[in-house]
């Protein structure tokens, strides 16, 4: 059963067509890695799935419900099922780590304070930051901030987690700690859709890899097959450029 269904998705910025008809089905528990050159539309596709970008035509269903960008209630409902982690972390700097995690569950899901705090502490423990409950984001390293951001997204108990180049802003030595958390999520059966430049990670964790090129899904397949035998010249060139 598909948890995310995308049919004929199109989007343009002005006269620039960014997505030219994307079809994609993501099954529950599947881990999808989206790769491609910058400007290929991979981030835009990801941002369409939780409505940060509006699309112009096509259909997008999450958990069987259609995404209706103009309906405030529909978007609020949808976003409770779709978590997102950003390249630039985007923690709320005026709130402690604990409050960053507890804010949305208390406001949106009206979770009671005790249960909310227990959950936040559990999630922090899970990302290896249990001692940082009262810290502020400015006191954390990039890798720690990103792990808090993951915990914050998980606190809403999403059915799908979107990761938008979540290690691209990190120093090389901090990438590993974040990827390990993501890998553990994948192992536990979380549905993940991630835009990434970490090819080794995609190869290791993803069930399917999508290569996007000029606003289209250019090639799609299991990582072993796709990386070993790229069929199209564009993917061959893309992978070749990474190795040289």
């Amino acid at each position: 059963m598909s948890i995310v269904e995308i049919v004929g998705l199109r989007k343009s910025f002005g006269t620039n067509d960014v997505l030219k008809g994307i079809d994609l089905q993501v099954k529950k528990g599947e881990v999808i890695a989206i790769i491609g050159k910058s400007g290929s539309g991979k981030s835009t596709l990801l941002r369409c799935i939780n409505g940060l970008e509006a699309f112009h035509s096509g259909n997008l269903n999450v958990d069987g419900k259609p995404l209706i960008h103009d309906s405030v209630t529909a978007m609020r409902e949808l976003r409770q099922h779709v978590g997102m982690v950003f390249q630039s972390f985007n923690l709320f700097p005026h709130l402690s780590v604990g409050k960053n995690i507890m804010l949305a569950p208390s406001l949106v899901k009206h979770k009671n304070a005790a249960a909310n705090e227990a959950q936040a502490r559990k999630l922090l423990d899970r990302v290896g930051l249990s001692e940082k409950f009262n810290a502020y984001s400015e006191q954390l390293s990039g890798g720690q901030q990103q792990r808090v951001a993951i915990a914050r997204a998980l606190a809403m108990e999403p059915a799908v987690l979107l990761c938008d180049e979540i290690t691209s802003a990190l120093d090389p030595e901090l990438v590993g700690e974040v990827l390990r958390v993501v890998e553990s999520l994948a192992d536990e059966g979380m549905t993940l859709i991630m835009v990434t430049h970490e090819m080794n990670f995609a190869r290791k964790v993803a069930d399917r890899v999508i290569f996007m090129h000029q606003g289209l899904v250019h090639e799609i397949g299991e990582p072993a097959e796709l990386f070993a035998n790229p069929k199209t010249p564009e993917l061959q060139q893309f992978l070749g450029a990474l190795h040289s």
Partner: protein
């Protein structure tokens, strides 16, 4: 002819200064409330509300405060309302202050990174919740220093209320200067008083600004 001692001059000026402070506070509180409403309209997704607020700000930023005070004073008279200088000055200064505060605050809100909006939207927060819990608390921190700094402009702006007959510091000083034939002494005292009123405020604004920078 009655003789004025130096103390008489200072005492009368100090009494008048109370009205300057009072008027400043009315302008600041009134302007703050209206400014807050305007800045909310500016953030709203309705194009009409946005245009309304923008037009308001453009108009009252584009007309000299002096002329606004004349308009408030004589304009209310046209509608058959016998406006006292108090009411006219309060309205004129509130319009002026609200327009400027709206612009200051709008700038502070605009300076909050887009990622804060996106992250809070992704967590299913409504527009009101985003504003209330994410954007406003951060924008307010940035806004404190320029807002207090603008208070200095408002205090000095109240001097213009003298032209519609409001008996604040400047108006009283003119009267005293005429009576004592010693305008330089009187206006020197007035200048000192405005300075003593404004300088601590701008010092405080500087202090707040420095504190903010250390923290971020």
């Amino acid at each position: 002819m009655m003789e004025f001692s130096f103390w008489d001059i200072v005492r009368n000026l100090l009494m008048a200064m109370r009205w300057t402070i009072g008027l400043s506070m009315i302008a600041f509180i009134g302007g703050g409330l209206v400014g807050l409403l305007l800045v909310l309209l500016r953030q709203s997704k309705s194009a009409f509300m946005n245009l309304l607020a923008t037009t308001y700000v453009q108009i009252f930023q584009g007309i000299p405060l002096l002329v606004q005070l004349f308009l408030a004073y004589y304009g209310l008279g046209l509608f058959g309302i016998n406006a006292s200088p108090w009411v006219a000055a309060s309205i004129g200064l509130t319009l002026y202050t609200s327009a400027f505060l709206c612009e200051i605050w709008r700038g502070c809100i605009a300076s909050i990174p887009k990622g804060q909006w996106e992250a809070s939207a992704s967590l299913a927060l409504s527009f009101y919740e985003q504003m209330r819990y994410i954007i406003f608390p951060q924008a307010m921190k940035i806004a404190v220093a320029p807002t207090v700094g603008f208070l200095v402009q408002v205090i000095k702006g109240t001097a213009l209320a003298s032209v519609i007959g409001f008996m604040e510091l400047t108006k009283v000083s003119k009267t005293i200067a005429n009576a004592t034939f010693n305008p330089f002494l009187v206006f020197s005292c007035v200048a000192l008083m405005y300075f003593l009123l404004c300088y601590p405020v701008s010092l405080y604004a500087k202090h707040l600004e420095r504190k903010m920078h250390v923290h971020r």
